[in-house]
């Protein structure tokens, strides 16, 4: 087995109860691809399930060497939910060829890592596999829905003294993953760079709503009634962008997209427990008022402002909100087509 390249930081990537989507996302980074980007930041990828040559016993040798402290590990990335079930055995997810569960391996390897990254909402908080009826059987690394402290426990600290870094998102933007890794490589990532749920603040300090290109429709409460309409999707179509963190609408996804730009609602995939919603695509309401109001906005103000802005909505905005294309262009005066 080889040693870590001189002067580089080592990184090991494991997939637990994963769909592989976080890896598919991060493969998009960099002008010359993920592997060259890692080189740029001085990262020696000692093993990744989708990329590395080593298979079977060659891979197990690497895990063993890290677990026994023979191979220093700077960054452990875990992708996917930690399957705790059935009944705490972890047998829903065995690491092939090792006779151990992924839960076993995570508990062996995480304490050996200087930094431990939960890549994606599954590894951070449990994610979709932790939805009913599996909430007691599936967990994140350090957060669980009903399992306090997740797989590693709430007091877990990696060798750097940091808790698990939760790069949540389903799947996260490739930049969220790579920039977190890069910041660690530059030794400039500390606990104050995390929000209260362990997410990197560089992307979690804003709401997914900020920068949404439906902003004008939101301001005037001109709402979409069905998917493909241009209007704001908060009132009827379940959009949670005003409640979920992320700079989703401040950076380009796949060259220029985002969920709301693509015509569909934010489902708050960066949030713990997002999987528990039922009826994702419909806004729950009480007495006609959406239950989930913007994160830190007093309800009375929201209702008052909504009523005011609805009464001030230009015809152009009202008309376009329920169309799949702009029918009425902006112009001086009333903005209504002749």
């Amino acid at each position: 087995m080889r040693n870590i390249k001189a002067g580089m930081k080592s990184m090991l990537w494991l997939q637990a109860g994963s769909c592989g989507g976080c890896t598919m996302s991060v493969l998009e980074v960099g002008a010359k691809g993920f592997m060259r980007e890692l080189e740029t930041f001085g990262i020696d990828l000692i093993w990744h399930p989708s990329i590395s040559e080593e298979s079977g016993s060659e891979a197990i040798d690497i895990f063993q060497a890290v677990a026994e402290g023979r191979l220093a590990l700077d960054i452990l990335c875990v992708e996917g939910s930690i399957m705790m079930g059935p009944d705490g055995t972890g047998l829903y997810s065995r690491m092939a060829g090792t006779g151990k569960t992924t839960l076993d391996w995570v508990r062996l390897l995480a304490p050996r890592a200087r930094y431990c990254l939960a890549v994606g909402t599954c590894a951070a908080y449990g994610g979709i596999p932790a939805a009913t009826p599996f909430m007691d059987e599936v967990s994140g690394l350090q957060y669980g829905e009903t399992l306090e402290g997740g797989a590693l426990g709430k007091d877990f600290r990696s060798l750097s003294g940091m808790p698990v870094i939760n790069v949540s998102g389903c799947a996260p933007h490739p930049g969220w993953i790579m920039e977190t890794i890069g910041a660690i490589a530059f030794d400039e990532f500390g606990e104050t760079d995390l929000d209260r749920l362990g997410r990197p603040r560089f992307y979690a300090k804003t709401l997914a709503h900020h920068g949404c290109d439906r902003n004008e429709y939101y301001e005037f409460k001109a709402s979409a009634e069905k998917f493909s309409d241009l209007g704001c999707m908060m009132e009827h179509l379940g959009c949670k962008a005003t409640q979920a963190v992320g700079d989703c609408n401040q950076r380009a996804w796949n060259g220029g997209g985002s969920c709301t730009h693509g015509g569909f609602s934010c489902i708050a995939c960066t949030s713990p427990g997002f999987e528990d919603a039922t009826g994702f695509l419909k806004t729950p309401k009480v007495a006609g008022i959406p239950v989930g109001l913007p994160l830190d906005m007093p309800k009375a103000w929201f209702v008052a402002l909504a009523a005011l802005s609805k009464s001030a909505t230009p015809d152009r905005v009202r008309e376009n909100a329920v169309s799949d294309r702009v029918l009425s262009d902006p112009q001086r005066g009333k903005g209504v087509r002749e």
């Binding site: 996302s25 998009e28 592997m35 298979s55 693509g262």
Partner: protein, 479 residues
């Protein structure tokens, strides 16, 4: 005889374990194990039907659009509705982009790096294989990944993001494409065609589209260097046409559907020809799976894990048609479509092989790029991209589509406006199924019997080639 366990078997999507009985360096018996169970079928139960569009794609991060389209197609069938014509075209464009990305991620990141293993150090082509395809450091990935990134900009325009989009709805897609976006899509396809022609094909798109015979492949090899040509050279040297023969029955549900037609037809191909496919003949048994016994009919089956079950060795179930295992994937799709080259290779070799599976993916990539250009031209930008209809409270229907790796089906039953049952049979559930109640092995289990591993046992490259030639998606397999 020695028993060995190969795993973690990497450079596949998800985690795989293979148990082998080896005698004198030859595999006598194989047991293929899917090691992960997440319970998506149970998670989908009790929810409003449209939630399937959120949950189902998250089965798989590499073929998320395929899962979305299967769910949307099932919901559409439940409603008896039709998508807007533009909706089919836009969804096909995104779906094809994903499937091409899958085919080439398989080629560049998963499959080719095995030729750079030290086992091949004495072969004449080794130096090139190592420079170009060595895992992590090879130069080819630094060309492929930027091309993939550019290709996936199609998702930014049509699907908002990838993986895991909600753009794919029963009535079409959530975003109408405008003139500027059509031009951007055309530019992406043009860029990607350049990558294909210069790097992968070493020939024009038309050259690949017109391949009909082994002689045509020979003529292509004479044209000069390319990654495909390199594969053909290595495949000849290692006799990959004789390696990893499939079970003989090739299944396709038909792919890239529109309201009345599909680009590729449904059917079952064998050496005797192509026959019609009957969805009612699909059964799925759990004889070797960690699940309690249940109905074999996917409309009636339950998913109840039983991790202590005697004789079980996989989280995958065993799907069958008329009790026979099926191989599925690009080779099957093109064989069912009667593609002359793929049909000829299968006939000549007496079945599918490692070589034919790889060739079929390359050929299908060319077919898809060509078709995408056509779908893009056919969009009528002044018309809707989505139709709207409601889903009934009580109904049952299936959505049958093709993912990159083969036939993908979602069987949905609604009761009182909620999902009562949701069953999924994924491509690799077919290809990597465990033994059924009659003891019939799955396609990979059959393909591994007789493979020579030599002294290297589970580490032998031949074993790696056979397994990876199916391009398994293990996360879909048991879901």
């Amino acid at each position: 005889m020695t028993k060995v366990i190969a795993g973690p078997f990497n450079r596949v999507e998800g985690d795989l374990e293979v148990g082998l009985d080896i005698e004198d360096g030859i595999i006598l018996r194989a047991e293929v194990t899917t090691t992960l169970f997440r319970g998506f079928e149970k998670i989908l139960g009790g929810r409003p039907p449209m939630d399937a569009l959120v949950i189902a794609p998250r089965i798989c991060g590499i073929c998320s659009v395929s899962q979305s389209i299967a769910a949307a197609s099932a919901l559409r069938a439940l409603a008896g509705g039709r998508a807007a014509p533009n909706g089919y075209l836009a969804a096909n464009l995104a779906h094809a982009a994903e499937n091409i990305a899958d085919h080439l991620t398989h080629f560049y990141l998963f499959f080719m790096p095995d030729f750079a293993r030290a086992e091949y150090a004495d072969y004449e082509w080794f130096e090139r294989a190592a420079a170009r395809f060595k895992a992590v450091s090879g130069e080819a990935s630094a060309q492929y990944l930027p091309a993939r990134r550019r290709l996936l900009e199609i998702m930014g325009i049509i699907a908002g993001k990838w993986p895991h989009s909600l753009a794919f709805q029963p009535g079409g897609v959530t975003k109408a494409i405008d003139i500027g976006e059509r031009i951007r899509l055309a530019a992406i396809l043009a860029d990607f065609q350049v990558f294909l022609e210069q790097t992968l094909f070493g020939a024009s798109l038309d050259d690949i589209l017109s391949l009909e015979s082994e002689d045509d492949l020979e003529a292509l090899r004479a044209k000069g260097n390319s990654d495909f040509r390199f594969f053909l050279d290595v495949a000849d040297d290692l006799a990959l046409r004789a390696l990893g023969k499939g079970p003989g029955q090739l299944l396709s549900y038909g792919a890239y559907h529109e309201a009345e037609e599909s680009l590729l037809p449904a059917g079952i191909a064998t050496l005797e020809g192509v026959r019609a496919f009957d969805a009612n003949a699909i059964s799925e048994d759990v004889a070797s799976s960690w699940f309690e016994d249940t109905s074999k009919n996917p409309f009636e089956a339950e998913t109840s894990p039983d991790v202590k079950k005697d004789g079980a060795y996989s989280w995958a179930k065993s799907p069958r048609i008329d009790l026979e295992p099926m191989e599925t994937g690009a080779a099957a799709r093109l064989a069912v479509a009667g593609h002359p080259l793929v049909t000829a290779l299968i006939a000549r070799d007496g079945g599918t092989s490692v070589r034919t599976r790889v060739i079929a993916r390359v050929v299908e990539t060319a077919i898809l790029v060509h078709s995408m250009q056509g779908w893009l031209r056919r969009m009528r930008l002044k018309e809707a991209f989505s139709s709207h209809f409601s889903i009934p409270d009580e109904a049952a229907a299936a959505g049958l589509v093709e993912a990159a790796r083969g036939s993908l089906g979602h069987w949905v039953q609604l009761r009182k406006g909620q999902i009562q049952r949701y069953q999924i049979i994924a491509p690799t559930t077919w290809n990597f199924s465990p033994r059924d109640e009659r003891g019939i092995a799955g396609p990979l289990e059959q393909a591994l019997v007789g493979v020579e591993t030599g002294a290297l046992g589970a580490k032998s490259a031949a074993l790696q080639h056979v397994i990876r030639s199916f391009d398994p998606c293990m996360v879909c397999t048991a879901h």
